[in-house]
Symmetry: D4
Subunit: 249 residues, 8 copies
């Protein structure tokens, strides 16, 4: 609750236009919907510009559906991440319009078009195996009103594949760079562009990749500038952050 | 065996009221029941106020049942943790009164009511996925005679959900705070209350959460005061410790 | 800011007893004192019952002294932790009454006696080398009005030393158990008492102790109940938490 | 070298306006200045909009001075990070106009004003000990033409200090959030703003902070959205990335 | 694209033998084949002497087959690693000549014989359980034209087994040494031969082998000389590198 | 091959009693039997007193059976560890006398009685879940001619269970102490006995036990003396080492 | 306190030969001497056969001297480990007979000869830099009445140096094997002898040796049998354990 | 000792040309020189083609000098690594011809020219701070008869600096690539050349570089082929291995 809202509310009470008890209720009860196992942050869309997102792992199908239902009733755009096909089938039972993005393992429901941004986000992967994470990023960014250009399998071991797409990469307002194993791609791209780079390490690899640790450390230590990092396999977080940046005016 | 008991025992022997051999037997044989694969600490309830608890993983169903049976025969309240539904079915075969707590994955048998505490324990989770761990804590504390107030899905990313429940939180004698991922919730609560906070990291998360390591380290490094930590996913330990604290007079 | 205060404030505004602008100012400006490099949480003593504490590492002597000075002017009891002798000399320059606890590396200023608790805290170490951490705990607890009984060098390798002090240990309302290396002591004590145990791993050791990691993990995995853990070498945190628990009525 | 430049160059050769040998020379020799132990990327300012930066650790004073000298001769703005006072003294010997930022441990030389951005960057720390890292970020961002608002010592353990500055935080185009220990602050801020948050873990702390690992993991696992992370203590990287984002139009 | 090619291309344009647009196309479009989810580095065989290799994990069967198909059409030798029997069955559907190496879990298609090297590579394992990794190395090296001598189960715990094969080991131009657990074998061999040793740690072991970390660290710290290390279980990488070395003239 | 054997062999050659070629053959071919995927160290029983042992994981059933067969033909006692019931069924097909130890997951074949040792080995576990590892140790020691006394579920949280068995523990020539979680038991026992203690950490536990790392570190840092450690879950290694020690005269 | 002593004590009380109060005093006060910062385990020599040892790090010179003094007065043999030359100088001030072992960094005082063992202990290092740890082991074992044969710098990279000393190694009742870096030596020796091997990892090395972690893991995963491991650089522990084993009859 | 030598030796004994005792002496005493704290592997030059190298850390100046002296007397080329200037001064006292390589921290003595190789080794660093490690590699390779081309400060963040030197890189028989931080350079070079790449991670960096772990993991997970890795900061090992490869015919 920011300063302006607080001031208005206090003025209404001072002027007798609002009861004190009502003021307390408003300050406390408005911002979320409590369905027992979850407190849906309905105030979030006003506060930060995007609706809450459903992270599915660890939730039962009943819990996911209850949250989905509650959000549907409020008319929000909805994004559920890390959802298997079975879970999608259950969601479709209560919401036939829900769309499944198989590679991204995401379920979306688009109730209203977000205002489109002018620029676009480039979403680049080092390898084919990194695509699911990149798709989670792309689907997230697109749902929130961004245009996304996909450039897949352009890792540094065949660096001409990257250079071929350099114009597309340099034209983006934000770059999402997805890589596992050595995680070297963001360093190369970060040295070539003058825009922010969001690096997403993936758990692609084996042995001393330690489930993405190798790529994560590599990206955190990037000797290029303007490179920020999100969690391993966190396509959603990258897509969200890129959207927030792309939307800056 | 504490000093008073030892003194009495020695006096009985001195006064001829007890045989030396009997004294040795008492000092050695009373405190536990040996069923081969387990030595059930029957003395524990006298020593620390609570019966022993059955931690099920790594034990065969036969072993769990044999321990359960032996404790039933002594009339103890019983708690078996980390028990799947199959194991519960087996236990019910020898003890139809046993109750299964599905979310907590716990089996309880309540033979006698523990003396109820006056104050209550608040059990708070950051997210919906943390509920199973919180339920293990709550079921444990309740079995041992504590009142528990549950506040689920109140993480710091929508911090007004937390503030809405601040009275309930501040009113508790002990707070159990359960969180995965960034483990940030105990630090915020620790800064708001003047009561002990038991922080429980969970393995909820992925990638650089490293199965709860992230939340564990975060909680150990809490910049708030009065925060103590138990093992990752150790709802039982938190519920037990909170009960011990709540029972202090 | 809790519900009661908020309600009173809103009622004052409604009744015209307070200006709206004043209300905003109160809600925002009261709780801390801003001295540029630090925002001293003056509201904390009211909120959680204890004044803020100065953690010295990473602060310049000038910063520590400025914070100390500001707290002196408010008449708080003051505790500065991890302070070397040089820093103490500087503090004494502005506050001749400040006391230095050499082993604990703590500076205290006691302006008013805290209400003494009835019970006492037992502070136990496994070895002689763990004493500095235990002293930080003890000094903290004592400043905040607790009685502390010290039992040093009672580790499990000569377990009779522990048993000799069992009455003193069992009589405490809270036990602080400080150990490095194998960190085994809290497990043994936790199995003997019916009171909370706060385990403090120390960085005492070498090689595979990995600066306290060994003791930390050991304590987190204690097979005894009622054991909670704080950060490695965090005597202050243990003393604080023990005091909060000891003060419960 | 982007596509347009390449095309022009090829056309010049085709049209006989440029010799083949000259074309090769241009393609190869222009972009950097080789001084033996370093290849200064003089092309970088054109390519990504900012001059190269001198990271001092591991370089001899002679090497730093030689690089500094070479950049001076090209009229670049210069930033040298992690420079001790002794090194600064040596630099001042060849460049009396160089400015030393003591807390940031940075040396700057401003030869030309960068175009000022409209919005500002908020630079927030959890504690006083985090200020040196925050200053490195702020000095970097300011040198590259950004306005920076500093909000220091506003950690979650006294969360009202944060809320007091909420307007300033929400008004920023980008937030840099600097925290050690539990690293919880970015999660709270990320839940309150609709702008990108660049989280900087610091090595402030001890024991299980493992030199910043705790804060790093906590930030990577932030349950808030829009949070990106840079390396531990990497104030420079955060300041740079924030500047790149702030400059987006 | 190396200097000579660039020079020729520029000369052709200068001489009017090639259009500028054509020049750009060549510089950009030649080197790979884009099939959407993958950019097959067709230029690689010319650049580094070997065709690209298909790393199967994380790719769908459709993606693997599409890449396989595209490479078949170019007449390349093909190697697909970490392929289960099911995947092989699918590949055989489009390429009946594909051969499956069960122990190595590799699929190969040999379209043209690589020029045979004169010397041979010795491929040695410490134990029987290390054979699958060694076979991946051997199959890779053989496909690329090398002769391989296999010496399996010759670990240091029965060191005479190693000495028995010393002539065969000393006669090789390169040794691939594959070991899990203590990873001690490369150190012993490295002390006996005057040729390069490529050490391959395997994930064979349990407990404190930490999935190959033990062997990896042991090999990196080898007190013998001439020992280089590849990733855990990376038979392919070792076979490839050994082939590159063996082929040096 | 030790010095005496070498001398005799050389003398035989000098005296013409043995051909040079025969000498080479003996020096090289005697000590093991090569069955392709394995080199069975048949010389081992002479060299170190015990036959080789078959570690089953990572070997195919065919490989295990072939090694078993080869050892049977030489009349050795045989021990195969980490064998599931399916594998045992296959072994029984070629060797009906093979015995399966279900808890230990071990297969044994006893062809000749080892000379019995006079003293005995005590094999102690902290909990019931540690029994499988302890059984692997006990079965190993028994096959190699040692008497073993089992004391299970005697962990430090109910320390009187341990003291009850102190005579049995103190009477042993060697103690094997098996514990997971906090791994505290060897430190307590090490402080009570004057005989060697072999500590076996187990992977029993969860969360911050990190699959036995916690117990391993705890044991390595034991503040008691005479404690040596083997790998996590390495019952076999402990049983073997205890046998070697017990057999010393 | 074992069963026999307890029985005698109880019988004395029963027979009136001992007062009850005296019995309690005996049970509690005999076993250690309390000097405030330390509780010297004077009972230890009776219980486990060796006097307590002073581990110096983390203790002040005053504390070390007070413990030394108290042990002198009891006539014990004394061993103080990890003592620098300065500390030795202080000890010599109160005990001119104390001997300093410079390489081992140990101070010893021999008041009475321990009964000599018949066999000897071989103490072997991989390199010259491992000698200080080996000397700590050797000095410890010698003080406790063992003969020690030193074989230094016999690592696997020049394995003939090891074989040259094979008779001496095979003749020992126990082998202590000290190695850093790859820690490969115990595996080779373990495969050659039929006696127990105590492996001591050292922190010798750099980079991925991670202060001895590499050698530690290597030794824990030794594919040879009969190998037990102590903490990194723990020469004392190895010497003590070897002595306990060597003394077995 | 290889088969041919053994055969000859045995034949000499058979033919009476050599005494049995002499044969034993030869087999055992020839290969090294024992100076107490070190066994200098004098046989090594014959066995693997290069003399032994002195790794200085952990050795006293006296030990280093004694080894140096012993090697001088045999006329070997000598290399002492990780030697500070003080140590060099001591060495020069006994060997005025010894040369100090300041950046490499290496002392060399060249008694005889090694046969020069035809090809050359390229030694490339990512940054200026990596030069000391690269120099250790270069000095090692040069002492052993290789020509080395140095290309310093050519990291991927300004990738044109790399391409500029591509001809020099592609012309080498072996590439040594030295990088800290993200360790991305070997992946890029590995994708461009058809020769072996020896990757050397350095401890250059801070925070999440974890003293070179980041670069090490990155290199082990390189998605390019033909990349082998040595220990962190192990310039010597890389130079040695590169020389062994370069010398292959």
């Amino acid at each position: 609750m920011d300063a302006d809202t607080l001031k208005t509310l206090l003025e209404h009470i001072r002027d007798g236009r609002m009861e004190v008890e009502e003021g307390i209720r408003l300050l406390k009860d408005l911002p979320y919907m409590d369905i027992g196992h979850a407190k849906i942050d309905t105030h979030r869309e006003l506060r930060v510009g995007y609706p809450e997102v459903i992270y599915c792992p660890g939730k039962t199908a009943e819990q996911v559906k209850a949250i989905f239902q509650a959000m549907m009733e409020r008319g929000s755009n909805i994004l559920a991440t890390r959802a298997g096909e079975d879970l999608y089938a259950e969601i479709r039972g209560i919401c036939p319009d829900a769309v499944y993005h198989r590679e991204a393992k995401a379920v979306t429901l688009k109730k209203r078009e977000m205002e489109a941004s002018e620029g676009y986000i480039a979403c680049i992967t080092a390898g084919t195996s990194d695509i699911p994470v990149a798709e989670e990023a792309a689907v997230t960014a697109e749902l929130f009103g961004n245009r996304v250009e996909r450039i897949y399998d352009a890792g540094v071991a065949g660096i001409h594949r990257l250079f071929h797409n350099l114009d597309l990469i340099k034209g983006a307002r934000v770059n999402i760079v997805v890589a596992g194993m050595d995680g070297a791609l963001p360093s190369v791209i970060g040295g070539l562009v003058d825009k922010p780079v969001i690096a997403v390490p993936t758990s692609v690899g084996y042995g001393a990749s330690f489930h993405g640790l190798s790529a994560l450390l590599s990206m955190l230590n990037s000797c290029a500038n303007g490179v920020c990092v999100v969690n391993i396999d966190n396509g959603y977080g990258a897509g969200y952050a890129a959207g927030v940046i792309n939307r800056l005016r």
